[in-house]
């Protein structure tokens, strides 16, 4: 089937469910909520991106509204709501470019007692990590993360059908979505390690990222089964789709990268431990296009584990610690298949994170320090932040993004020239 055709069919199907609802929604004026925000993030280093002196300067208007069905129509009886959220931005980084991002437009309904449906554009999250994701393959925006936008913008919306089943034994979420890549550094706003350029690159990067075309066989499927065991929560995950990062090479000469197919099998457990909250999560990623690992152009299968602990020390002071381990499987085959000129990536990665949060003045002042540190990669990323709720309507935030690293090709090391300090007012 033709790409455009499938796209149209899927969109029409999803949004027709949403608009079937709109028809029932009466003309009662919706109540809009939202905020306006100004954000500025100067930086010091010249890294050959579009601008040397800042990587964040924008104004944003977010509007959201929700329509709860009333009366005795079909959707009212099914406890339904229509949800909308959109962001208008004026981005000075791109010389005042105006943009609109539709973050949510979906219909949420309980069709049967044991079955919920959410159709349309929506934000999706699951898993137990704090800024670390193993079984959550929903799209993320790491550019927003590294320039200091609100955490909300780390998550990108998916165009999806989310079906939730509630039999007595366990709950099941099943999501069908179209492919949406992670937004990662590509040289215009954030410099990064570009293997084609042989080092950290800015606007000189000219990679061609090939997304899987929109067709039925490229839909993604994500499944989560979860239940409570006393105070603990156990979950199993399955994902079938694509890597969200362009990790693999299609055509080296043409500098083409693509998002390889993968399956992920995972599990997690979260609950009280040692008078805090503990969590552990595993994932096995099967790189379907290179499952035995001997194609040097395609990322290998991976094993990942993460464990964390959070404790409330009293007086609005909290501390959270995480350990993350990632191992490339079939590393021998990978090493053997490499060409002498290839960059060599390590077999395993250890990553530690720590989050400290302290609130002051009736929780109007919040100080957070989040720290990534990898002893194996010899890199890290420090994210300090102070925010002050001047009133219910005004909030000022001051923070910094300080990635560092000995090498240029590691996860945070490649970001080291993007250090910034930012302020936000909303």
């Amino acid at each position: 089937m033709d790409k455009v055709e499938v796209k149209i069919i899927f969109m029409v199907f999803m949004f027709s469910i949403a608009f079937w609802g709109v028809r029932e929604a009466t003309a009662a004026g919706p109540e809009f909520h939202g905020f306006m925000e100004f954000a500025y993030g100067p930086k010091v280093s010249d890294d050959h991106t579009k601008r040397d002196d800042f990587n964040l300067l924008e104004q944003r208007l977010q509007l959201k509204t929700k329509y709860l069905f009333e009366g005795d129509g079909f959707f009212a009886r099914k406890n339904s709501s229509l949800n909308f959220k959109g962001d208008f931005t004026v981005d000075e980084y791109f010389f005042g470019k105006t943009d609109f991002e539709l973050r949510e437009l979906n219909l949420s309904t309980t069709l049967v007692d044991w079955f919920d449906l959410k159709a349309g554009r929506q934000i999706l999250t699951w898993g137990t990590g704090d800024y670390l994701f193993i079984n959550d393959l929903f799209p993320k925006d790491y550019v927003s993360f590294f320039i200091g936008r609100d955490d909300e913008y780390l998550k990108k919306p998916s165009d999806a059908l989310k079906m939730s089943f509630y039999p007595s034994l366990a709950n099941v979420d099943f999501v069908i979505s179209t492919f949406e890549s992670n937004t990662t550094a590509k040289g215009d706003r954030l410099s990064f390690f570009d293997s084609f350029q042989g080092g950290i690159a800015g606007v000189n990067s000219d990679r061609d990222l090939l997304e899987p075309p929109l067709q039925l066989s490229n839909l993604e499927y994500a499944l989560r089964t979860y239940r409570n065991l006393g105070s603990h929560e156990a979950a199993f995950y399955y994902f079938r789709g694509f890597d969200k990062n362009p990790t693999s090479y299609q055509d080296e000469a043409a500098r083409q990268l693509f998002y390889p197919r993968l399956d992920i099998y995972g599990t997690s457990l979260r609950g009280p431990a040692a008078s805090g909250i503990g969590n552990i999560e595993f994932g096995y990623t099967n790189s379907r296009e290179d499952s035995n690992g001997n194609n040097r152009l395609i990322a290998n299968s991976l094993f990942k584990v993460l464990t964390g602990y959070e404790k409330d020390l009293g007086n609005d002071f909290k501390i959270g610690l995480q350990y993350f381990y990632e191992q490339t499987l079939d590393y021998g085959q990978y090493k053997e298949s490499l060409l002498p000129t290839d960059f060599v990536f390590d077999e395993s990665r250890h990553l530690l994170t720590q989050r400290i949060t302290k609130l002051y003045k009736n929780q109007t002042v919040s100080i957070t320090l989040f720290n990534f540190y990898s002893p194996s990669n010899k890199d890290g990323y420090v994210r300090p932040m102070v925010s002050y709720h001047v009133s219910d309507q005004w909030k000022a935030t001051l923070g910094a993004n300080l990635p560092w690293g000995e090498d240029d090709l590691t996860e945070f090391g490649q970001m080291k020239r993007n250090k910034n300090v930012y302020v936000r007012f909303r």
Partner: protein
């Protein structure tokens, strides 16, 4: 002589029973019983409850912040007797849906409270579709920045304090028992003094003293209404006397014994608030 002895004994008997008549109920009720009954009346009224809660957080300069939410509560078991040590005793579930302020609108918060272990707390942040587990071992953390602690919101196990009856008193024309409670383990406060209504056992006033025996926090009940046959405090205020910050709370649209289903208190409804209860 014998008759005199008899007469003396009989008169003593009458005197004893007479004085018993005169005294308040504290002769039948120990200080612990009063606190236990008060906890039942205040935190366990009805089998379940729904209320629209409006909190005004006011700093010493008079600046106001607003928190507005719908609260659902369901008791698995009533509070029981303080001496009973059944594990599930007094277990309650709370569900909260926030309307205000704008940055927490549509957030939901769920608590399973136990009397013998830390509560389970979940927070749902809709902007990122995230269900967060909240570490809950500090019961004296401020609830949403107010002067109420988590313990104020969901109650304290009476067995955690040693209670002493101080006196009978009148507060705003109401007969009260005054009870002193001293924590058995080091706690946020060193001493609490409670004025408890002698007829409906609602706490009318509580004073919290620190280690220096200084009054630093005070709870006062405002208007009390009969709702579905249950005496209910619909206005309350907590003042922090050290910072000058205070929180005024009003409960509206209160209803008891609605038959709220158990499954409302689950991740399903945390992610998708139960519209029939929050509309």
């Amino acid at each position: 002589m014998r008759t005199i002895k008899m007469l003396f004994a009989v008169s003593l008997f009458f005197l004893a029973s007479f004085s018993q008549e005169l005294s308040f109920a504290q002769d039948e009720l120990s200080a612990s019983d009063i606190i236990a009954k008060s906890r039942l009346a205040f935190y366990y009224a009805g089998d379940d409850m729904k209320a629209r809660v409006r909190m005004e957080l006011i700093n010493k300069n008079g600046q106001k912040r607003i928190r507005e939410l719908t609260m659902l509560r369901k008791d698995d078991q009533d509070g029981g007797q303080p001496s009973s040590a059944e594990a599930s005793e007094g277990r309650q579930k709370y569900f909260m849906y926030f309307y205000q302020p704008a940055d927490v609108k549509d957030m939901t918060f769920m608590v399973t409270k136990y009397t013998d272990q830390d509560a389970d707390r979940w927070l749902f942040i809709p902007a990122i579709d995230l269900v967060k587990r909240i570490a809950a071992n500090d019961k004296f953390s401020s609830f949403v920045g107010s002067d109420f602690t988590y313990e104020d919101v969901s109650g304290r196990n009476p067995a955690e304090d040693t209670h002493t009856f101080l006196r009978n008193d009148k507060l705003n024309g109401k007969d009260c028992f005054v009870v002193e409670s001293i924590p058995k383990q080091p706690s946020e406060y060193a001493k609490r003094i409670s004025w408890i209504d002698a007829t409906n056992f609602l706490p009318l006033k509580e004073e919290f003293y620190d280690k220096q025996n200084e009054l630093y926090r005070q709870f006062e009940a405002g208007e009390i209404k009969e709702i579905d046959g249950i005496s209910t405090i619909i206005q309350r205020v907590v003042k922090n006397l050290k910072s000058g910050h205070r929180t005024e709370v009003s409960f509206e649209e209160i209803k008891y014994n609605l038959g709220i289903e158990d499954d409302v208190f689950s991740e399903r409804y945390l992610r998708r608030p139960p519209l029939q209860w929050i509309k």
